[in-house]
Amino acid sequence: MRAVLQSSRPLWAQAGVALTLRLFGIMLFLTPATIPVCAQEPAKPGAATTTATAATTATAPTSYGTISGRLMSDDGRPLSNSSVFLSTLGSMVPSPPRSGLTDASGRFEFRNLPSGAYSIQPNVPGYVRLRSPEEEAELRERTYYRIGDNVNLTLAKGGAITGTVTDATGRPVVALRVRVLRVRDAAGKATRTAAFTREVLTDDRGIYRAWGLEPGSYLVSAGSNSQFFNIQVPSSEEAPTYYPSATRDGATEVSVRYGEEQSGIDIRQRNERGHRLSGTLSGATESSSNFNDINVSLIHTASGLIDDTSYVRGVDISSFTFNNVADGEYDLVARRGYGADAAASAPLHVKVRGADITGLQLVLAQLGTISGRLFLEAPPASPQPAPACEEKAKGQDTRPGALEETVITARLDDKSQGRGRWTLPRNPDGQPRADGEFLFGSLQPGRYRLDARLPDERWYVRSVTAAGETGTKASAAARSSNAAARPSASREASAASPATRATRAGDALSSDGSIQIGQGTQVTGIRISVATGAAKLSGRVLPGTEGGALAPRLRLYLVPREPERANDPLRFAETDIRRDATFTLANLAPGRYWLLARPAPEPDPNDTTPPLPLAWNAEARADLRRQAEAARQEIELQPCQQTTDITLRYPPTAPVKQ
């Protein structure tokens, strides 16, 4: 601790009269919203994290409880005295992440947690989560926990990459930044997040060592401009050199597995001068919050990875510069603020060919928001279902879900977005308040759908609608009582940005549930209606002929039979069929369906986001219904029904003659 504190003490702490006197004794806390995010996707995107606030807001959590768990190493040893972070999405009332410590048997416990959706991050130096390839694939969606959960995590020693950096004359280079950037996961699928990027310095012998690496493939470059702060080391004088002695296009990927060390990853600098890109910022550059930093990202076009970030701050925030940029194609995106206050520029495509580029212009525009309310419908008064539903639920988790345990994702319903879009979260997760109010900020223009991951198997999403006139008023009133939203909202109004447009849900919401966001559109009054009485089904797929082999990579679709549901994406469901040929679908609306198994679409290895449900596309819906009707695997789901023994054949055998 002492050495760490000492070593990070800035030189200028004692440098001048002005600094020491003027800053006499001042300390302050920075709100989470002011912390620039090093990852390409912000750690907590989406929901209204504009201002921290006392939790004395209108809505108290539904309940309090405990999340406990255990950290083990892959060789069966408990990981003791290790820290575990617990963070919440914190839609309206952000909380600081909690940190816990494991005991001698590797156990940890977070008590007195308000109900909500939590993510858990073990922090064991040198170790990473052990994930099966299937889990790795599912990583694209974050895992959340709720109170009462017991979380057992297995960790394994991470990989290491080490080597020596020499200059063009063969001399070792001391204190040079080396960036180790994961470009593919262990399954070989492209990644587009900086979460697994490491930056290390070469030592006095020119040796670097990056350790604790997630399995996967990495690009190793020497002399990178830092995405991360490292205050004392001069920036490089030349364009980065990639392992072994290449430009980016000629770089050799280095792959590591759990516990594996790749040594001899030596880099010889190419001594190639980089170029300077500079330009100006205009448009919605002013923030309504205290810290007005704008960051400009330099995105390598072909990979979509951020190569460098320029932080523009201070009193004169009108221009930006990148130094030592290698020849190549890039996209520049400027971004500022979080939540409802966020703004960004459209990507600007630049080709660097042997010369500096000046006079680039980035115009920031306000980003969009979607707000509304998730609510639980009162159970129908007359018919049968409710008691049976309760009984069945008792077998597993007796505690009913709470609205604030729902994770809502605002998913961009468009895979063909232009270049440079990756700096903005494409699929921000949000958590509603206990009263169901939710707000997504930082939305780039595009078509969105709200996906709700429900905390209770008895629930299903019945509809996504626009609030009626009364509904709009009600939700507006609820929002104005929310201390978190108030300050930013009023400032927003006083800033009177012409780019900001308030839009009623009815004008943005289309009949199939998608929401159109234009530049700075602020959509209010979206109602996500959740009903009880959901059904669940599980089963297995058998080969169509006895003794035959099952086709690999199958996907199961649930297709509504009622013609009036044919265009309601909420009534469609789909899931991968697991390697053991089993499948499970939950949170299903009662009704009449067809089941359809068919080969899963071939995944795009360069696509880093979860596949979009087929049913979001009108043509695909029609196609699914045609095929499902032909396959004639019919099923009727009663309210609360739990069917575990479905057997399906693929390819389908001839339907029974009627």
């Binding site: 002005a18 006197l21 006095d204 350790w211």
Partner: protein
């Protein structure tokens, strides 16, 4: 060096760290383009040597001195590498004030302020050809070894502590020129550490935390610390084997096997309304180490919120003094009295953070003497800080209200005490704080706030300055003595006496005695020269601080848009009279 109170230094440090923590590398920042776009005609030459030998290939960098960056984050303005003979040349430099450094991380710089953790200033006039900005260095030494646990497994990510054992002083921290690589101070995935660029001398190497209150540390996001273990795996500092490093040497195999984990205890408490005694749920709080006198905080974590019963629980506290306190949140009206407690050898309970409605301040910031819209626009981007001088333990405040486009500001949740106002960055774009008025009356010494007082109608009067003072320091014998450190402050003559030590602008003079202050507004200033006898160049050993010379004061009147020349004559005899060797 100034004899600032320790807590002030620590708090300042914490602020700076918090700013730095959110400040990625600024090397691509805007000022670079601005500075270099007006290429000048000045040049700087010098030599980098070790012993009698010139060092080749060393990077020498000229850095912007703009206050908004701070020296350690300043963008590079010009750079050069030394030739075979150790010589460098920086050219095409515009007139101005800069910092200069030689980046040679495997060496120990012995020639300049860097050895004291300070930047070296250079003032350049248009067309100046400054010669002899030399750097002398000694080859640094290396300590390397491995840290393992009792079962022989590597201890990963464990911070290494080096303390220097000195003949003059019993124990001293490692000099701060080893700043640039934090990770060098921790073990890697094999348990191996390697620390280089160390000055020759005697060192004690240890990991873990000592038992006893003065060394109590909050395990911020961290693990429970090990009981402090010195090389070679002993827990008593007197049994530690001293590692002797000569210039350029490498001490290998400095291995440590850690002992047991230190003791850890729990603390329970509540957050209550001071008036009614009712528990308050959902209040955000944190805790940190404090000293025996309970005057300052030495670190704190992100904290947590009280539960539905207003309770909080803190775990993994090693013995020591602590303070639990409320984290003031934006727009919150609450203020919490810090609760100080000591952990000795058992769990602690019954801690209470008492919360009451805080005082508030509101008003408007105005710029005097200009109607220029571009100047007014700068106002919005300034950060106002309100610093509360309090009785007892000072805890962090979130008193950083935003200045709205119309100049208004509002801050709630303040404790009782004396409020002082500061702008960040200081003297940004020529704007500085001239005076503070309450109901038309200028406040002579900050604003005294009573508990819960709601003050409105404040006026922060800023001025816009474009005047420049160019100065030089001479002595009776002519040149400034080698190693002498000079700093000059400029304070408005019309500023109230009591306020003066909180305001003003200060700069370092370069070793030729030149200094440059810009962004001053029209008016009369009291300029004060502080001179500190420096270190003896070429000695890597830490040198004791010496008392400063008698300050030299003179009054100077400046006018916006003009440049004023000032000369200070320093009486070096005062060094003999008041100094101590």
């Amino acid at each position: 060096m100034f004899s600032l109170p320790r807590r002030t230094l620590i708090m300042t440090l914490l602020l700076l760290l918090s700013l730095l923590a959110v400040s990625p590398d600024p090397s691509n920042s805007t000022a670079l383009a601005q500075t270099t776009s007006r290429a000048g005609t000045g040049s700087i030459t010098g030599r980098v040597t070790s012993g009698t030998e010139g060092l080749s290939g060393i990077l020498v960098e000229l850095l912007s001195s703009q206050a908004q960056f701070g020296p350690s984050r300043a963008p590079s303005v010009a750079r050069a590498r030394t030739d075979e003979d150790g010589r460098y040349r920086l050219s095409n430099i515009a007139a101005g004030r800069y910092f200069i450094r030689a980046f040679a991380p495997t060496y120990v710089i012995t020639s300049d302020m860097a050895a004291r953790g300070m930047m070296r200033t250079v003032i350049l006039d248009e067309g100046d050809a400054i010669e002899g900005i030399n750097f002398t260095m000694m080859r640094g030494a290396v300590i390397t070894g491995r840290v393992t646990d009792s079962e022989g497994r590597p201890v990963i990510g464990e911070p290494i502590q080096l303390s220097r054992v000195n003949d003059d002083q019993p124990s001293q921290q490692v000099p701060s020129f080893n700043l640039y690589a934090n990770d060098r101070f921790s073990t890697d995935d094999r348990g191996i550490y390697r620390i280089y660029g160390l000055a020759a001398g005697h060192y004690r190497v240890s990991v873990g935390t000592a038992k006893g209150a003065d060394d109590g540390r909050v395990a911020l996001h961290g693990r429970r610390p090990y009981v402090r273990t010195y090389y070679p795996s002993v827990t008593e500092s007197r049994e530690a084997k001293i590692v002797e490093l000569s210039e350029g040497s490498e001490a290998t195999g400095i291995n440590i096997t850690v002992g047991s984990l230190g003791e850890a205890f729990k603390a329970d408490g509540r957050i209550v309304d001071a008036e009614s005694g009712q528990p308050l749920a959902g209040m955000r709080f944190t805790y940190g180490n404090t000293d025996r006198e309970q005057r300052y905080l030495a670190g704190f974590g992100p904290g947590d919120r009280s539960n539905q019963k207003g309770e909080f629980h803190i775990e993994n506290l090693s013995p020591g003094y602590y303070a639990a306190f409320l984290i003031p949140e934006a727009e919150s009206e609450w203020y919490g009295e810090p609760a100080v407690f000591e952990v000795v050898d058992a769990d602690v309970s019954g801690i209470e953070i008492k919360v009451r409605r805080g005082a508030s301040l509101s008003g408007v910031a105005v710029i005097e003497g200009t109607a220029d819209r571009s100047v007014r626009d700068k106002l919005r981007r300034l950060q106002l800080f309100i610093n509360m001088e309090q009785q007892g333990l000072e805890v962090p405040a979130r008193a950083a209200p935003r200045i709205a486009p119309d100049g208004s500001f509002h801050q709630t949740g303040l404790p009782a005490g004396r409020a002082r106002f500061n702008l960040w960055p200081p003297n940004s774009g020529g704007l500085s704080l001239l005076r503070i008025e309450r109901n038309g009356v200028t406040l002579a010494n900050g604003l005294e706030l009573a508990a819960g007082e709601q003050v409105t109608g404040l006026r922060l009067v800023l001025v816009y300055g474009t005047a420049v003072v160019r100065g030089r320091v001479v002595t009776e014998s002519g040149a400034v003595p080698e190693g002498m450190r000079l700093s000059v402050t400029a304070q408005r003559a019309d500023e109230p006496e009591a306020q003066r030590r909180y305001g003003g602008q200060g700069v370092e003079a370069d070793e030729r005695g030149r200094f440059l202050i810009d962004g001053l507004a029209t008016g009369e200033y009291i300029m004060t020269l502080h001179a500190f006898p420096g270190m003896v160049p070429g000695v890597a050993k830490p040198q004791p601080m010496r008392r400063p010379l008698a300050p030299v004061v003179q009054r100077v009147t400046v006018t916006n848009g003009t440049q004023t020349e000032v000369t200070f004559t320093l009486n070096t005899q005062a060094e003999e009279a008041g100094g101590e060797r």
